[in-house]
């Protein structure tokens, strides 16, 4: 496969490199905003599981635009277990989102105020066992939701990546306890065939007696009489496709020359992949250890 092959196959991969985004997922957040205006009036935002940082880039750029009338610059906090390359206007916390100290650090960056928007594009490395992958992804979202209950203001917005697998209705049910409106959004920059979608939770409104508690992570809602495994009375949330139909199609094969004004040239990715866990095994393979 040629080097330009991925460019041809994936137009958003190419656009991301051309427009300076660290990852193609930047377009997904932009398209979610096109539909839901999630950046409107937001001055304090948190990006969970931020690395490599494309969503922080989007927040930094879009919130800046947003607040030209006020003098106060937007405050953006990016949290990840891994270190990531610095971004102007973004405060980074290298920490674990399941720790209370991380929540306290976030709030301290906002000088005690709470966030208007929390986003999370985190996903585990999938194993291929769909039930396990969906569970781990749900745990990641519940951990994100848990820390969100500590840092998000009432009425705030929460956006996170989900896998639309067999138990997604249980996750919807859990989220609906904390937010007035829950939508599942599919940006056009996310491939049609992909299991990924985004949960857009508007108007944070926790139950009256709810006390945020990091020590007790939120457990999943199980299947039961209120949540039958099949049937029409399962909790279903409305689907919203995001992004302009006239825009690019993530599934379509485009010729390399998509823009008449600018001839195509091969670009390197903005951010090289981080060192994989199997780095040592790869090095040994290159050193001909196995033969």
């Amino acid at each position: 496969m040629g080097k330009s092959s991925k460019d041809k196959r994936d137009v958003y991969y190419r656009l991301a490199k051309e427009q300076g985004w660290r990852a193609r997922s930047a377009f997904k957040l932009l398209q979610v905003d096109e539909e839901f205006n999630i950046f409107q009036g937001v001055t304090r935002a948190v990006d969970l599981c931020a690395a490599p940082g494309s969503w922080s880039q989007v927040l930094s750029k879009e919130l800046q635009k947003n607040n030209t009338d006020t003098n106060e610059p937007p405050q953006i906090v990016a949290v990840d277990l891994q270190a990531m390359a610095p971004l102007p206007g973004v405060t980074q916390i290298q920490g674990d989102i399941t720790k209370l100290s991380t929540a306290e650090q976030i709030v301290s960056h906002f000088d005690g105020a709470q966030a208007d928007l929390v986003v999370s594009d985190g996903a585990p490395d999938v194993t291929g066992l769909h039930d396990l992958d969906e569970y781990i992804q749900a745990q990641l979202i519940l951990a994100a939701l848990n820390i969100t209950t500590h840092v998000l203001r009432k009425g705030g917005t929460f956006v996170a990546k989900i896998f639309r697998g067999k138990d997604v209705t249980l996750l919807y049910a859990q989220l609906k306890i904390f937010f007035r409106t829950v939508h599942v959004a599919k940006p056009r920059s996310s491939r049609n065939s992909s299991i990924e979608a985004f949960i857009v939770c508007l108007e944070y409104n926790p139950p009256e007696d709810y006390v945020p508690n990091m020590a007790n992570p939120l457990m999943d809602v199980p299947y039961g009489p209120d949540q039958p495994i099949v049937g029409s009375n399962r909790v279903i949330v409305p689907f919203v496709a995001c992004g302009d139909l006239r825009g690019f199609d993530a599934d379509m094969t485009y010729p390399l020359e998509i823009d008449d004004d600018e001839p195509y040239h091969q670009r390197d990715p903005m951010q090289m992949p981080i060192s994989p866990p199997y780095k040592k095994a790869l090095e040994l393979k290159r050193a001909n250890f196995y033969n």
Binding site: P124, G165, V168, V230, F239, P277, Y278, K280
Partner: protein, 1075 residues
């Protein structure tokens, strides 16, 4: 509402195997989806199957057998767990039949490990479960009531956990965390007093084992609990000493993530994403690699005596391995017998240089040997006697070849004579002059074992002038039973390396040292000439010319071995070949080469003279002595049907046993290996390289002998399996074969044939019988993922997918032969997303196919036997402007409408009637457009799937499923447009949308015979919808919803199996659900 779910998975299911455990030394339990299967590993049969071992369709991730003190006092009790549930199951009797669920329990968190532990105080066996949040809860197995719980001090998510300890008091837990650590801790009961005291109730970590560079996926305690093995994302197996909490070793070797491992007394076995299990010694030396699937071996188990290991893979296969055979019967110098050669002076007068062995062959079944020495002495040794000088060859020049049966050996000499040695002939040598110059190569083509005509051997000899002579030897006959059949043309510069001939099948083949294949048509009327009457200068036998030449068939590497054998019987011989001649001529050529590959070719005669069809997988050539009249001219066609790598080294010999069973002898790193048809290594012998003298015989079904030269020594090895074992059942085998380890993207059925295509690029055709699939044929031509397979007839199949590949296959007996391939588009990233057949009146002549492309275009292809694929129309305007996902075809009256759906949610209707009419000129590509009309907003995003049903006149129903989770049904009236009317007219009379039909993208929609609609989505639900078109409004109502255990379902097809309507679902595995 539970009707569908009640029978779900009952008819047919083939899912990844995610759990395995032995009940006894021979009974094996495996879990696939929610079903528990009990195998007898001795008879290789399924004893019984429990369809719903777990509630709520949860997948079995673990099986734990209760270790009982006295095995025969109570029924064996088994704990099965997976996801968030567990069951206690008793297996009725020791033979593994009648597994019965005693209790089922649903938890709130994911179960990572389970354990039976004896509560010594009460004498009860309790169940301990380790959950993903690093806590352990102990339950009463009967009531499921919680006894007590413990929480590890490290609060984090686990990917793996393991227990050790027979009693509750001894119980230890190992946790494999997302933060790359292994934690060893002892669960300490949280009591009401400890939790109210305010002090931490968490159990402390005893050992924190750091070293992995990725998350820990699997853990296994040693039997004594003193060691633990862990496997990880970082592709290592690590061993830890639990006496002092230190790392013992890190084992590198897997090529991808490792999922699970077993710690046996003397070995470590690990299973990986790379599709292999690897076997390591306790010292960390890689002993063997067992290849099972293309990807993901999920489960491992060993029996109590540790003689067997069972493994389960993503392709649904279950395989057993004999632990004793790890290393593939690795035979080193100790297992070999060094044949004592006679002292030189015993048989040779005078002083001369030290003698070396020039050539060797094994003779007969028991201990016979032939060795040709430098001096020209031919030494022979028969069973039970010593070496003796048997013959002399001039100038010490000899080329020696022996047959696999050991019944015949031949010695080629410098004077062009060939000497035959045959134990059946006793002591008398037979020699004949077949060449006028030195014999350079010899090949003996043995008849397949256990077949009639056992004693007929073909001998191909080639001299230094490139003359190739084919002679035949009948062992049971008298002196006259050796005759010359023909001479073979050897093209210039072709260095002979291997040959195969079959007079009965009418073909001969020669391979060269440059990787080329030469194929000869053998006439039926050859006149043989007795060798005694054969005159090398007169050439009074037929000379066969090369019919087909295939250069670089094995790249530039030597073709080392060839076999010609009959195609297995075919159901449809008469359909494709009217005359006997054609049918007689079809056979399979199997080739092995020093590129490590084994390939299969079909040789056949085509009656039509088409323009050269030569392609990557096909070569043709004219036959000799053709009649002038064009009508009867025939062509030899050689098509490659498979190609597989057997070794990183050389394939040196192919051995045919029975009609179809091909074993291969390979050489790699000075090891000879014998590989069986399943790719299993039967033995591996440390020897010299494959280019040195060696000979392997299989004189009876179970007796393998081999001899080779190593450092001037003649070494032999006898493999005699233990009594009452055949070679087959003392080696490892599949209990259930696999289907595909990667996603299946398309499923289609015709009669009882089911065809699959997907990410692994293989087209597979199965026969459905008795709730199981039996592989009929497979084709490996696609270079990129297959997205669509469609039957044209029961003997003809289309497949399409990535790289814009579109192929037509002929199902012929157990072969899938490519009969045509469409020219591909320039862009290698262009994908064909869907195919649809367009019905027309001229089916016997050609097939009309619509194809949807990822560049927003649609093309119509015409397929006929003579010209293959021709593009007859395409949508040059790319009207969709988005990737086209789905197609449907509606025929009524003499009109035919093609419907296409794209990622933007639009459906476009095209009039394709003109292409179906007999008068249609289908010679060149026309323009498909303009469309009849565009239906915008049928879905918010991609129209993944469509089906159309004709109602009456020009009215029809269109059902579609979208990526937006919705199901839409539209009533169309095409009379409104009058067809071919330019401009956009809305043909949708009524429309109904069920917005949240599923919780995730709808992947398949099809009308059922009762008028309802069946749908399947990635939320793994299968739904039946009633569509009512009678009233004012069109309405959709949910009738029934069931669950499919196929994860990521991407294709669905409603078919009839066993005379009932079933919904075939394909994704990661396949399932047939009654609807």
């Amino acid at each position: 509402m539970d009707a569908l779910s009640a029978v779900s998975a009952a008819r047919l299911s083939h899912l990844p195997v995610t759990a395995a455990e032995f009940l006894t030394d021979t009974l094996l339990l495996t879990g696939a989806g929610t079903a528990l299967t009990i195998y007898n590993t001795h008879t290789h049969t399924i004893q019984s199957k429990l369809i719903r071992a777990l509630p709520n369709f949860q997948r079995i991730h673990g099986i734990i057998v209760q270790k009982r003190e006295s095995p025969h006092t109570t029924q064996p009790t088994v704990l099965v767990f997976g996801s968030k549930s567990w069951s206690v199951i008793t297996v009725g009797t020791e033979d593994g039949s009648a597994a019965i669920v005693q209790s089922q329990h649903t938890m709130r968190d994911w179960i990572k490990a389970a354990h039976w532990a004896l509560d010594e105080a009460s004498g009860r066996w309790l169940v301990a479960l380790a959950f993903a949040h690093n806590d352990v809860v102990v339950y009463d197995p009967e009531s499921g009531a919680e006894e007590w719980r413990a929480q590890c001090e490290e609060h984090c998510i686990l990917y793996a956990a393991a227990f050790h300890g027979r009693t509750v008091a001894e119980m230890e837990v190992a946790s494999g965390t997302v933060f790359n650590q292994v934690l060893i801790w002892k669960p300490q009961r949280i009591t009401s007093s400890s939790s109210s005291s305010g002090a931490s109730t968490d159990s402390p970590v005893i050992w924190r084992l750091r070293g992995h560079e990725g998350v820990v996926f699997g853990l296994c305690f040693s039997h004594d609990g003193r060691r633990i093995a862990s496997v990880s994302d970082d592709r290592t197996v690590r061993l830890w000493d639990l006496e002092n909490g230190t790392a013992v070793s890190a084992l590198f070797g897997h090529q991808a993530r490792i999922w699970t491992c077993l710690l046996l007394d003397h070995l470590i076995v690990s299973a990986s994403e790379d599709g292999t299990c690897r076997v390591w010694s306790n010292q960390g030396v890689l002993v063997d690699a067992w290849t099972q699937a293309k990807k993901n071996v999920w489960a491992l188990a060993t029996n109590p005596s540790q003689t067997l290991v069972a493994s389960g893979a993503a392709d649904g296969s279950v395989r057993i391995w004999r632990v004793g055979e790890a290393g593939g019967r690795l035979i080193d110098a100790d297992g070999l017998f060094a044949e004592p050669m006679p002292a030189q002076e015993e048989y040779l007068a005078g002083v001369r240089a030290t003698e070396h062995i020039r050539g060797l062959a094994l003779l007969g079944g028991s201990g016979g040997l032939l060795a040709v020495m430098d001096s020209g002495c031919v030494l022979r040794k028969d069973a039970g006697s010593g070496w003796r000088v048997w013959a002399h060859v001039p100038e010490g020049y000899a080329m020696v070849a022996g047959s696999v049966s050991g019944q015949l050996a031949a010695v080629g000499q410098r004077d062009g004579c060939v000497m035959l040695v045959c134990p059946a002939w006793g002591d008398s040598p037979r020699a004949a002059r077949l060449h006028s110059s030195a014999v350079r190569h010899l090949a003996i083509v043995a008849p397949p074992a256990n077949e009639p005509g056992d004693d007929l051997y073909d001998l191909i000899t080639v001299d230094s002038d490139h003359q190739a002579v084919w002679s035949r030897v009948r062992l049971s006959g008298g002196q006259s039973a050796w005759s010359v059949v023909a001479t073979l043309e050897m093209p210039e510069n072709a260095n002979f390396s291997a040959a195969a001939v079959s007079l009965a099948l009418g073909w001969a083949a020669v391979g060269s040292t440059k990787g080329a294949l030469y194929i000869y048509d053998v006439p039926t009327d050859l006149v043989e000439c007795l060798v005694d009457e054969y005159d090398v200068d007169r050439n009074d036998v037929a000379h066969l010319d090369v019919a087909v030449c295939w250069a670089s068939a094995h790249d530039k590497f030597t073709v080392s071995s060839l076999l010609i054998h009959q195609l297995p019987p075919s159901d449809n011989d008469n359909c494709d070949y009217g005359d006997d001649q054609g049918a007689r001529k079809r056979c399979v050529l199997v080739t092995g080469g020093r590129d490590g590959m084994m390939q299969r070719f079909v040789l056949e005669i085509a009656h039509t003279v088409c323009a050269s069809r030569d392609s990557k997988h096909e070569r043709t050539g004219p036959l000799a002595n053709q009649p002038d009249n064009d009508q009867n001219r025939r062509t030899a066609v050689v098509s490659r049907i498979s190609s597989q790598r057997l070794t990183a080294g050389w394939v040196e010999q192919l051995v045919l046993l029975g009609a179809n069973e091909i074993h291969a002898v390979t050489f790699y790193r000075k090891h000879m290996a014998l590989i069986d048809p399943n790719g299993l290594k039967l033995l591996s012998i440390a020897c010299a390289g494959g280019n040195k003298q060696w000979h392997l015989t299989r004189t009876s079904e179970n007796h393998i002998r081999c001899a080779f030269l190593k450092k001037s020594q003649l070494l032999t090895y006898d493999l005699l399996p233990p009594p009452n074992h055949t070679l087959a059942n003392c080696s490892s085998c599949y209990l259930t074969p696999g289907i595909s380890s990667l996603d299946i993207r398309s499923i289609t059925a015709m009669g009882n044939l089911i065809a699959l295509g997907g990410e692994d690029c293989v087209v597979r055709v199965y026969e459905y019988a008795k709730s199981a699939l039996h592989l009929r044929a497979q084709g490996r031509r696609h270079g990129s993922a297959i997205r669509c397979v469609v039957f044209v007839t029961p003997h003809c199949l289309l497949s399409a997918g990535g790289n814009s590949e579109l192929r037509c296959w002929r199902l012929d007996g157990s072969s899938l032969l490519e009969s045509a391939v469409a020219p591909t588009q320039s862009s290698d990233s262009l994908r064909i997303m869907q195919l649809a057949l367009i019905p027309h009146g001229n089916h016997s002549e050609y097939t009309l196919i619509a194809a949807a492309y990822s560049d927003a275009s649609i093309r119509l292809w015409r397929l006929d036997p003579l010209n293959g694929f021709t593009c007859v129309a395409s949508d040059n305007q790319h009207t969709h402007a988005h990737c086209v996902l789905s197609l449907a075809v509606l025929s009524y009256g003499d009109s035919t409408v093609l419907l296409s759906g794209a990622t933007d949610g639009q459906v476009i209707l095209w009039d394709v009637s003109v292409y179906t009419r007999p008068t249609a000129s289908l010679s060149h590509a026309g323009d498909l457009g303009p469309p009849i009309c565009v239906l915008p907003g049928i879905h918010q995003s991609g129209v993944n799937t469509m089906d159309v049903k004709h109602l009456a006149d020009s009215r029809a129903l269109l059902a579609s499923g979208g990526d937006d989770n919705s199901l839409t049904v539209c009533e169309l009236d095409l009379s409104i447009t009058g067809l071919n009317v330019d401009g956009n007219v809305d043909v949708v009379v009524r429309r109904a949308t069920y917005a949240c039909a599923h919780a995730s993208s709808v992947q398949g929609v099809e009308f059922m015979t009762d008028g309802g609609v069946c749908s399947v989505a990635t939320d793994q639900r299968v739904a039946k919808w009633a569509v009512s078109a009678d009233g004012e409004e069109l309405s959709i109502e949910l009738e029934d919803m069931g669950f499919t255990q196929v994860a990521d379902p991407s294709a669905m097809s409603v078919v009839r199996l066993d005379n009932v309507d079933v919904c075939l679902v394909a994704g990661i595995g396949i399932e047939a659900i009654d609807i």
